[in-house]
């Protein structure tokens, strides 16, 4: 049963990734692109966790955790760049 659930969710996130990619491609605003990239980061976190569940190991969770912790920093940096120009004022 868990296998089907995994297939289903992984497919969903995979499709979401492709949609993010499309959004980054067409924009039109920088904000759209940053948001799409951030969503992409979230989706990848999800996929990493799913992969860990599928393989039955906890070792990949750390990668997911690290992505979660530092991934948003890039997003903040992009945003500050767009809003203020200088990311460290």
């Amino acid at each position: 049963m868990i296998e089907y659930a995994l297939y289903f969710t992984a497919s969903c996130y995979g499709i979401a990734l492709l949609l993010d990619l499309w959004r980054i491609g067409v924009g039109p605003d920088p904000a759209d692109r940053i948001l799409a990239l951030d969503t992409m980061v979230i989706n990848v976190i999800a996929l990493l966790v799913l992969y860990g569940v599928w393989r039955g190991t906890a070792i990949y969770f750390e990668a997911a955790m690290l992505v979660a912790m530092v991934g948003f920093v890039s997003t903040v940096a992009y945003c500050r760049f767009v809003l203020r120009g200088d990311i460290i004022e």
Binding site: A10, L37, V44, L83
Partner: protein, 953 residues
């Protein structure tokens, strides 16, 4: 090593140690500087004299310390008769020159420098003559080229000095290169680089098929150094040096290095037809040609320079004869030439010093004005001419005697006639030196009123002139050292008797012809000189300059066509070469059949692959828009990190994730001050070319990776996996490789990283002083900005995240040895945690709360890592051997303590310091560009507001 061996070492080292002193002592005055130059020389000379009796008895003193035994290179010295003769000449002349130079150099010349160079040269020269290892000899050989370059170019303000120094370096340096080849061949044939062994292997070497190449290469070195035809032209140009240098280097020591080498190698190389015809012929031609040119030189020093060339030719010829008697004559003439030629150079220096000219045509009649100088110069010149009762006569007689029974290509007359001609010309220019400078009518148009110099200046040449007469009258005085040196050269047991009168021999007649002819030639000098000046002659310097210009043009052509300053060109050349090599390798032996099957591709992975491909291609297409390109790079980083996880490389994934974040921040910081669009510069043709190259390279690497992945290939990883726990005490192979197996690499890498961080800091510092700083100040960055500078939300979130991130960093660090993680990732995570504070609350606020300078962190990291590595020495292990143990403390689980962890701490600190320093340096630009900073942590501080309300109430 024996007591004597120790002394020999000290002798070899003394000049180099002494060279440190005169440059400092010049502050105490010129005499003090000269004294401290003389002291190590005198000390070495005394030690040499202590060793001398044993050497004269026929003993050989040896000293050896292993230096690089793997290369056959050891610091080994030996002192035999030949070495003793040369070492004595070098040190003795060194003393005299030191004295002479003290009075010769003017107060405007930096005398400390001069003495330092002089001692360096002396050490190098001494090294040549007492080296037992030919590789060591080569090192000293090159050192003499370098130090003589400094000495010849000592008067830096004179263009002739600089050009002469360059020419000397180019010619002797090129010869030195050839000699390196020859010596390596020689060592290879003999199976040892030790002279003592090589000298035993003469038979084998002469029989070897590599004998001729080795001989020619070594002779190239010797001929260039000893100014043999056709390499003689550098010596006269080197005369731009101060006269003490000319007297020391270009008469007594350096130019004799080539002769010394031929004498040293005599037992091994001499005795064949090749040796005779190359060496004797070159010597003969050089002797006659040098003497001929010398006769027509008006510059006193040029005359002496060409006469030196001629006498060096004489020595070369004698060694080339290959007979024992000729070797004895050569050794004896080395001594005699030293005494009279150095005295003559010093005399020329005195004349130049006192009259302010060296032009013979402007001199004459100095005998009454400078009686002492006249006396010394005449004694030395008569010796050079080979007049009886002066020492030059003795060795010239021996030379003529040898020449008189030497056949050359079957001819009985070629050598004797030419040798007599050389002697005749030698007589002519020697007489001219005396007659045209000192004799004749006194003139009234000297550039400066001449008079004898102070005692200190004529003491040295006077001593040499005394030796000239002493040996000339009582030749048995020199018999001991000549015997010892000649035995060392020939390897035989000779007992030569040096006598003035040999009876009426062919040599005597040749001498008589030479003296009479020389005197006649001098009388005819005026008309001959006119003819000489009118005759066309090749100008060596012009030829040399053209040659150098040609070589420079050639290399510039090659360099300019490949290095035009555009990185695209370099990358194109590099990439095409790499692809071509890869293709050649592939086409050469073909490829074995794949042994593995393709793995299945799950749909999600395919999605990741599409993300990677699409974003990569988009970066290429959109890179003109820099911000969009950065966002796309974010996708690439993300895909690669996820890919590392999928392909079971969690360590790499962790590293990639944190590196990605730091990179994005660095690029964004820099981009703020850069144009947001890249200008379109490449033409379509160029784009096509680069695109094709890029595709070929990318396709090639892809194909290579595919080929490797499809085959079972043994790699070193098997060893690493097997030994990681046993040898390194860790179960995380990646970490154990980094801190243990390849710890030395890691150590180097963190040093590089630290240097990179410091360099960025320094570059930014320089940038803020340059023209770009003005542009920065005048740019208006304030267009259309959000007024949320330090939003409350962000500040709070980052504060909360800080301790969490720190704990994660600590966790990753501590478990790194056994599970994914380690100092590098931990450093990055902590750096990101700190960066968040910078972003949220601003530069000034965060900077104020920083306790340790980032520079210090880098240094600390490298020092900790280095000390950890060095700690292994205490246990008698090689650098960076790790040790580990398991500790059990009751409340916590059993844990491991490894020295590798300390090393990892060094990595952690360096990474943290370097990353922070880079970001700090970049964000400093904004402060400089005139941006204001926040004092408080956030735009609207609820805490402060609450306090304000309380005080109002």
């Amino acid at each position: 090593m024996s007591h004597a061996g120790h002394l020999l070492f000290i002798i070899a080292l003394l000049p180099f140690i002494g060279a440190l002193v005169p440059g400092l002592m010049i502050r105490a005055g010129r005499t003090a500087s000269a004294f401290f130059t003389a002291a190590p020389t005198a000390l070495a000379l005394v030690m040499l004299m202590i060793l001398a009796p044993a050497v004269l008895r026929g003993e050989v003193i040896q000293a050896e310390i292993e230096w690089l035994p793997q290369l056959g290179l050891s610091a080994s010295f030996f002192l035999d008769g030949l070495g003793l003769l040369f070492a004595g000449m070098i040190l003795g002349m060194g003393l005299l020159i030191t004295l002479y130079a003290r009075f010769y150099l003017s107060s405007a010349d930096p005398m400390g420098q001069f003495y330092t160079y002089l001692l360096l040269f002396q050490g190098a020269m001494l090294g040549i003559v007492i080296s037992d290892n030919i590789l060591l000899l080569l090192i000293f050989w090159e050192l003499t080229s370098l130090s003589s370059f400094l000495l010849i170019g000592y008067w830096k303000h004179l263009p002739e000095g600089r050009q002469g120094a360059r020419m000397a370096l180019a010619v002797t340096g090129a010869g030195g290169l050839a000699m390196i080849g020859g010596m390596l061949l020689l060592g290879d044939i003999a199976g040892s680089y030790n002279l003592t062994d090589i000298l035993q292997a003469g038979e084998a070497i002469r029989a070897s098929e590599w004998y001729l190449p080795a001989l020619i290469l070594i002779l190239l070195g010797a001929f260039t150094k000893s100014a043999q035809f056709p390499f003689h032209f550098w010596l006269p140009h080197a005369m731009a040096a101060p006269t003490p240098v000319s007297a020391y280097l270009h008469s007594a020591t350096m130019v004799k290095a080539g002769v010394f080498l031929m004498a040293r190698m005599w037992p091994v190389l001499a005795g064949t037809d090749a040796w005779f015809y190359i060496v004797a012929t070159t010597g003969l031609v050089t002797m006659v040609l040098g003497a001929l040119i010398a006769l027509f030189k008006d510059d006193l020093k040029a005359l002496l320079a060409f006469s030196t060339v001629s006498h060096l030719g004489l020595l070369t010829m004698l060694l080339g004869f290959g007979t024992e008697a000729a070797a004895v004559a050569a050794v004896f003439h080395i001594i005699n030439h030293l005494t009279f030629k150095a005295a003559l150079f010093m005399t020329a220096g005195i004349v130049d010093h006192e009259t302010h000219t060296r032009d013979i045509k402007r001199l004459g009649g100095l005998r009454h004005l400078m009686p002492v100088t006249f006396l010394i110069g005449t004694v030395a010149a008569l010796s050079m001419a080979g007049i009886p009762l002066f020492n030059g006569f003795l060795s010239k007689e021996m030379m003529l005697e040898e020449a008189s029974h030497t056949d050359w290509f079957g001819s009985h007359y070629a050598v004797p006639v030419l040798a007599t001609l050389g002697a005749l010309l030698s007589v002519a220019y020697s007489f001219r030196f005396v007659a045209h400078v000192f004799l004749g009518p006194q003139r009234d148009d000297y550039p400066h009123t001449p008079h004898d110099p102070p005692f200190g200046m004529w003491a040295a040449p006077a001593l040499l002139a005394t030796l000239v007469i002493a040996i000339g009258v009582a030749p048995f005085l020199a018999e001991g050292i000549v015997t010892a040196a000649a035995n060392a050269v020939t390897g035989a047991d000779l007992h030569p008797h040096l006598k003035i009168w040999h009876g009426v021999t062919p040599a005597l007649w040749m001498s008589v012809i030479a003296v009479a002819g020389g005197a006649l030639l001098l009388m005819l000098h005026r008309p001959l000189d006119k003819g000489w000046i009118a005759a066309p002659r090749p100008e060596a310097k012009a030829i040399f300059d053209r040659l150098v210009a040609g070589i420079v043009a050639l290399s510039r052509g090659i360099t300019d066509s490949t290095h035009n300053g555009a990185i695209s060109r370099y990358l194109a050349i590099f990439t095409v070469t790499a692809v071509a090599l890869g293709y050649i390798a592939y086409a050469g032996s073909g490829l074995s059949a794949p042994t593995r099957d393709m793995l299945p591709v799950p749909p999600v992975i395919a999605v990741g692959w599409i993300m990677l491909i699409v974003s990569t291609i988009s970066v290429v297409g959109m890179h003109h828009h820099r911000f969009r390109a950065l966002v796309l790079i974010g996708i690439i980083g993300l895909s690669i990190s996820a890919g590392f996880v999928y392909l079971s490389a969690p360590d790499l994934a962790l590293t990639q994730i944190s590196v990605e974040t730091v990179t994005i921040m660095l690029l964004l910081l820099a981009l703020h001050f850069l144009p947001k669009l890249t200008p379109k510069e490449s033409s379509t043709g160029l784009k096509m070319r680069d695109g094709l190259i890029g595709l070929a390279a990318g396709g090639g690497v892809g194909a290579l990776a595919y080929a490797f992945l499809m085959r079972d290939i043994d790699t070193i990883s098997g060893f690493h996996v097997a030994n990681s726990y046993e040898g390194g005490g860790g179960t995380n192979v990646v970490n154990v490789i980094l801190v243990d197996f390849r710890g030395y690499d890691t150590y180097g890498e963190i040093i590089v990283l630290g240097i990179a961080g410091l360099l960025i800091y320094a570059l930014m510092h320089a940038l803020l002083d340059g023209p770009s700083a003005r542009r920065l100040k005048n740019t208006d960055y304030s267009e259309d900005r959000s007024r949320d500078r330090h939003p409350l939300m962000m500040v709070v979130v980052t504060r909360v995240l800080m301790p969490i991130a720190m704990v994660v960093g600590l966790y990753i660090f501590l478990r790194g040895h056994n599970q994914p993680g380690g100092g590098f990732v931990a450093g990055l995570v902590v750096a990101i945690a700190l960066l968040m504070q910078y972003m949220a609350s601003g530069f000034a606020w965060t900077q104020e709360r920083k306790r340790i300078e980032y520079h210090t962190l880098i240094g600390l990291g490298v020092v900790i890592a280095g000390l950890t590595g060095a700690g292994a020495w205490l246990a008698g292990q090689p650098f960076l051997t790790s040790a580990f143990t398991y500790i059990h403390l009751p409340p916590i689980e059993e844990f491991e303590l490894a020295t590798a962890m300390l090393f990892d701490l060094g990595v952690f600190l360096t990474v943290l310091g370097a990353v922070m320093l880079m970001l700090y340096s970049l964000s400093r630009i904004a402060r400089f560009a005139g941006q204001t900073v926040n004092e408080g942590p956030m735009d609207y501080d609820p805490g402060e507001a609450a306090k304000d309300r309380d005080t109002e109430d």
